[in-house]
Every structure is written in structure tokens, then in C-alpha cells.
Amino acid sequence: MSAEAPAPARTLELREVRGPSATGGGSRRFFELLWLISATEFKKSFHGTAFGYLWSLIRPLMLFGVLLVVFTRIIRFDVANYPVLLLFNLVVFGLFQEGTGGAVGSVLAQEGIVRKTQFPRLVIPLSSVVVAFFTLALNLIAVFAFILIYGIDPMWTWLFLPVILVLVLVLTGGVSLLISALNVRFRDVAIIWTVVATVLMYGSPIIYPLNIIEPSFLRDVLLANPLTLIFEQARHWIIDPEAETALQAAGSWLNMLPAVAIYVVTCLLGIWVFKREAPKIAERL
């Protein structure tokens, strides 16, 4: 072993190696990786299948067709502009469903990267959210074409669309972080999540408007769901200005509090759990 040199001619500043983290490696690298991985994942959905991107539109369209037949021919909803409302809601909920559904198993699926490279772990679940967002953006073009063809005139409140999308996007991100981190510890999370996502779809005013439900305990429960308020407000802004706003649906600001609290807590919890779990992910796989 080399003896302790009296004073090395040059010394370099040593940086502490703090081990793996959610965002390790600097923010520029983080965003470039997020963009690159999301873009290539999204491109992949074009390749390999005959219809490519169309499938991501056809899936909500088929569900839309079935539900439309059920709720206009079998069980009759008397709701203004029901077809466009249904299509819009399904496509926007698709962001949440596909984003979280892709994220939940993503960390496990990227085992090689997680275990053998120093990689900002946060990129992995977030990239599936970004991919779902790309899909949504394309689908919305089709949806708005449909809205115009249906005969709804453009409204200035359409300018609030980004607010709706950001609210859904942030919630999707928070939930994705939470479940993808938990799924590393408890593999059951991915299995349960498909059920939970379905429950959430029926537990939000997606295929029905909230105002057809009489004031009851059930309605209170639905009101505690953050997605309920988001979709109610979206209906007011995008589809039918006559419809209730989220505030009117809730009745008072106080009644909105549970949903807002759940929204904030879920997002913060997601970030906190993911940050806490990130350094240990490689060992648990």
C-alpha cells in the first residue's frame, strides 16, 4: 500500500456519494431522460401494430359505443349532450387509468435499469404518465372534432381545459408514484389496482352526471372523490354551461374540503413514499 503522501500535489474536491435517490443525477439529466423515454415509449405504440396509434383511440371509442347504447337505448338518461359528455369524460379518465395502470408495474418491469445503473428512479413511473398524456392530447383532437360535429358551439370557457388536464395530470402523477413504489414491496398492489381503477371509474361522474343522484350518503361519498369535482367542473366548462359547477354540486366550499384534502394528501403521500422508497428499490427487486 502506498504510504500516506505528505501532501498530494493537487487535490480535487470530493463530492459525497449519497446513494440512489428519486431524482439523482441532476435536473437536466432527469428531464432529458423523462422526455426521451416517454417519447420512445409513445413512438413504440405506433410501431408493430397494424393500426398503431389508432388503437389508443379505438379502445375508448369502443367502450363509448357500448355505454352509449346501454344508457340511451336500455336505461335512458335524460342528460343534455350525453354522447359528447360521455366521450369527453372517458378520454380524460383514460389519462388517469392508463397513466396509473402503466406506472404501477413500471419499476418492476425496468428491473435491469434499476439494479444495474444509476438512474433517477422517478423517471420510470412518470414516463408512463407522460405517455398517457401524449395519448390524451391526440385523443382530445378527435373528441373536440366530435363535439363540434355534434353541434356544440365553441365557448370561451374551453380555455379552462388546461386547468382540468393539469388537475388530472397531477393526481395521476401522485397516485402513480404511490402505487409504483408500494408495488415493489407488495406485489399485490398491481393486481388490486386494476380493481381500484374500475371502482374509481364508476365512483366518479364519468358515465353519469352527478345531478341524477339524490342527496344521500352515496352522494356525499362521491363528493369526497377529487375526480368528481374535476369532472363536474369540466362538464360545466366544456360541454354544458347550464350544468352545475363543482361548487354548486358540492353545495358549499366546506363540502369541497374532503375532496381537496384527499387530492393534496394523495399527491404529497405519493411523493413522500416514493422518495423514501427510492434508495431501497434496487435491493427489494
Partner: protein
């Protein structure tokens, strides 16, 4: 004639001094443990009925590991499987978090510890090179501008737009190695990547490693391959059971590694799970004509191969065989204890000393000694097979062939125009 020094091997030149170079990697008291579940759940029913949390066993993968590496050094980490080398590498690479101690580093680190892990088989080489470059911390534009150099080194220019899933494994490795080389990381962590690709590409890699030895780049190489350690490394460290056993001269460390290897259970046929074989090799060495132990011998000088074995249990009718293997894996010579010398039985804790004088016709180069022990004079009843009980170097003028023979060559010219 024998020389007992460590640095006269064929291609080892450890001339560089690093005392004046700044320290770029510093590890102090690094410790890391894993919790392993103890209860093995082997059936579905058990899984359903075992509702209680399984117990855990603490595996201390690293204990109090300290070392430092100076800029430009090629630093080897050696150790048996499970000694903690890969865990240490993962701690250095920020893949695992250390439980205790601290690691400090200066300079940009390549974030891969295995070749090609960042590759996406669904993407083309072009896209993968860009993705990998960004993972290494380059900007996208920089990453794209490296494409040409990467492909040229990998000799894959024609396949730039082919998806990696259609690449052969050799092509993949070439691309991965090339991406690593072309990144401008100042510190590289490399886990067992030698001996990849075909012979020509291997030569290219060897050239790169030699170049790296002499460059400003700092390399940490984790390997089992002692000849690589002696060829490339300036310094090496031996890990055993998560502890640093030795740091220093690569030749010295390699020898300690080999000694550790036959202390413990040899990798024989039946007991690779860590049981001790019925007979173990305690020590093995070479002696010159005068009976002095040597590690390097001159071409043509007579040598004796000596081994000390110990029986751990009774073994009936044992046979003992040894082979010398050259770096190409060719068994150049094999010999055994002759029949009339073989005992009918060795009993537990008996020592066995074997001494064999060998006419040395070995061509210059490095040799490994393998050992076979069978029982009941039956070649399929293996007591011990140890692939690596000793290595040594024969030095001298190189000639073609794996061995040389005394020859008596005459040349005569006949006929022709001359008067």
C-alpha cells in the same frame, strides 16, 4: 534458474507513480447488510398457511471497507463469489445506499456497472446510443454527435437503423462496450466485461484497456480473472466475506486470492454448495532444481511441482492427477501419481505430500494448475476437481507452439546452377 520477483510477468509494467495524483474515490468504513428471508416457501399451500411474517437473516455483505483510488489508476477488486465485490460496486455507483460509512468521489462517473443494461431492444442502435449517452449525463446533441465514433469502434455502421432485438449477442456487446468507451466519464466501474466478442474485438478491448491504464481515466475493474488483474491493474484489493483482506500490488493480491481459494471449499463436482471436499488442497507451489520455491521459472529449467493435501474424511483408493493449462485453455501436460505409489486408503486428517519432478518443455506464458482427485480408481467418482490451485509464469524467448522440444535440424542444399 529461478527468479523470485513479482513484476517480471510478460506484460506487466507498473511504472506509473500515483502518489502525486489527487484522490478521486475515497471510501471510509463502508458497510452494507441485506435481510434475507429464512423461511423457504416451497408450496402454494405453505404460502397460504404461513401467514406470519417470515424470519430474516442478516447478511453482512460489506463491513468496514475503506480504500482510496487516485486519478488515472486502474484499480482491481477481486474476490470469490459472494465476497461483496458487486455490492461494493453498486454502492460506488449509487445503486445501493450504504448503511454506514461514506463514499466520496471527484469527477463524472459512468452510471453503468454492466454492459448494455440501458439498452432497449425495441429501439434501433441510433436511438439507443442517444438514450445511453443521456443516461451517462451527456446532452442529447452531444449524445447524437458521438454516434459515428461509437458505431465505428463497434464496427456496426451498417446496422445503425436495425432494432437491437435483431442484433446478435456479440454485436450487442460490441455496441455496449463502445458506448462505454466513447462516453467521457472520468471514472469507469466495470464488472466482468473482459472476454467479450470474437478474438479480433477482444484484442481491440485489450488495447483500449491498455490505453486506459496510461490515461487520466480512473477505472475500477471487478473480476475473477487474475491474469487480467495482473495485466491491467496498477493496484488491486482483495475482498473476502465483505472485508478488505489486502490492498496493493496486483500480483500479490492475485496470489492471496488464489491462496484463499484453496483454503475454502474447492469448486468440485459434488460439493459446489460450500461443503468441504473429502480431500482439500492445502498448498501448492513450484520448486527449482535446488529445491527453492519459485513462482516464475525460466523456459527449459527443471521444476518440481509440489502439493500438500489433507484428507477431511476417509477416502478409499484415491487417485491424484494434475494438469497445466495455458491461457487458451489447452491442457499442455497432464500427470498423475503412478499406480505403485497410490495408497489403498487415506484416513481423515492425514496429510498427503506430492512432489513431482517435471521436465520443463513449456512454452513461455502463464499456466494454471488444475487438480483432480477420484476415489475407488474410478474416474467418474470425483472427490475434488479444483480448476485453479496454482498459477505460474514461464519466461524466456517465445517460439511457436505450446511446448518446445529438443530438435536436431539439418539443412542441405542440393543441385542448382552454382559451380
Amino acid at each position: 534458474m529461478a527468479v523470485e520477483t513479482t513484476n517480471d510477468g510478460p506484460r506487466t509494467s507498473r511504472g506509473r507513480k500515483f502518489d502525486d495524483e489527487p484522490v478521486v474515490i475515497e471510501a471510509r468504513g463502508v458497510a452494507k447488510s441485506f435481510r434475507l428471508p429464512v423461511n423457504k416457501i416451497s408450496s402454494l399451500k405453505e404460502q397460504v398457511t404461513t401467514l406470519s411474517r417470515p424470519g430474516y437473516r442478516e447478511l453482512r455483505a460489506l463491513r468496514d471497507v475503506s480504500f482510496e483510488v487516485r486519478r488515472g489508476e486502474f484499480f482491481g477488486i477481486v474476490g470469490r463469489n459472494g465476497s461483496g465485490k458487486s455490492t461494493l460496486l453498486k454502492v460506488l455507483a449509487s445503486i445501493y445506499a450504504a448503511d454506514a460509512g461514506r463514499v466520496r468521489m471527484a469527477g463524472r462517473l459512468a452510471p453503468f456497472i454492466e454492459l448494455g443494461v440501458g439498452f432497449n431492444p425495441e429501439l434501433t442502435a441510433r436511438e439507443n446510443v442517444e438514450l445511453n449517452g443521456v443516461m451517462m449525463g451527456l446532452e442529447r446533441r452531444q449524445a447524437r454527435s458521438r454516434l459515428g465514433a461509437v458505431l465505428e469502434f463497434a464496427e456496426l455502421e451498417e446496422f445503425v437503423d436495425m432494432k437491437l432485438k435483431n442484433y446478435s449477442s456479440g454485436m450487442l456487446v460490441r455496441l455496449a462496450f463502445s458506448v462505454m468507451i466513447q462516453s467521457d466519464a472520468e471514472i469507469l466501474l466495470i464488472d466482468e466485461v473482459l472476454a467479450v466478442g470474437d478474438a479480433a474485438f477482444q484484442q481491440k478491448c485489450a488495447d483500449v484497456f491498455h490505453e486506459m491504464r496510461d490515461s487520466e481515466r480512473t477505472v475500477i475493474l471487478v473480476t475473477h480473472d487474475m491474469s487480467a488483474v495482473e495485466q491491467y491493474c496498477h493496484r488491486a484489493m482483495l475482498l473476502h466475506d465483505g472485508e478488505v483482506r489486502a490492498t496493493g500490488d496486483p500480483g500479490e493480491v492475485a496470489r492471496k486470492y488464489l491462496r484463499l481459494n484453496f483454503e475454502a471449499a474447492p469448486s468440485s463436482g459434488g460439493d459446489s454448495l460450500g461443503e468441504v471436499a473429502d480431500i482439500v488442497v492445502e498448498d501448492a507451489w513450484l520448486e527449482d532444481e535446488d529445491g527453492k520455491p519459485v513462482t516464475n521459472v525460466e523456459k527449459g529449467s527443471a521444476i518440481s511441482f509440489c502439493a500438500e493435501l489433507e484428507a477431511k474424511r476417509d477416502v478409499d483408493k484415491p487417485t491424484f492427477g494434475f494438469t497445466f493449462v495455458n491461457p487458451d485453455g489447452v491442457e499442455v501436460v497432464g500427470f498423475g501419481v503412478p499406480k505403485e505409489e497410490l495408497p489403498d486408503r487415506v484416513s481423515a486428517s492425514q496429510q498427503i505430500q506430492i512432489r513431482s519432478k517435471i521436465e520443463n518443455r513449456l512454452a513461455p506464458g502463464r499456466y494454471l494448475v488444475r487438480c483432480w482427485i477420484h476415489r475407488n480408481r474410478n474416474l467418474s467418482d470425483i472427490v475434488l476437481y479444483s480448476p485453479h490451485i496454482l498459477d505460474f509464469v514461464v519466461f524466456g524467448k517465445d517460439e511457436a507452439g505450446v511446448a518446445f522440444f529438443e530438435t536436431d535440424v539439418e539443412l542441405e542444399l542440393k543441385g542448382g546452377e552454382r559451380e
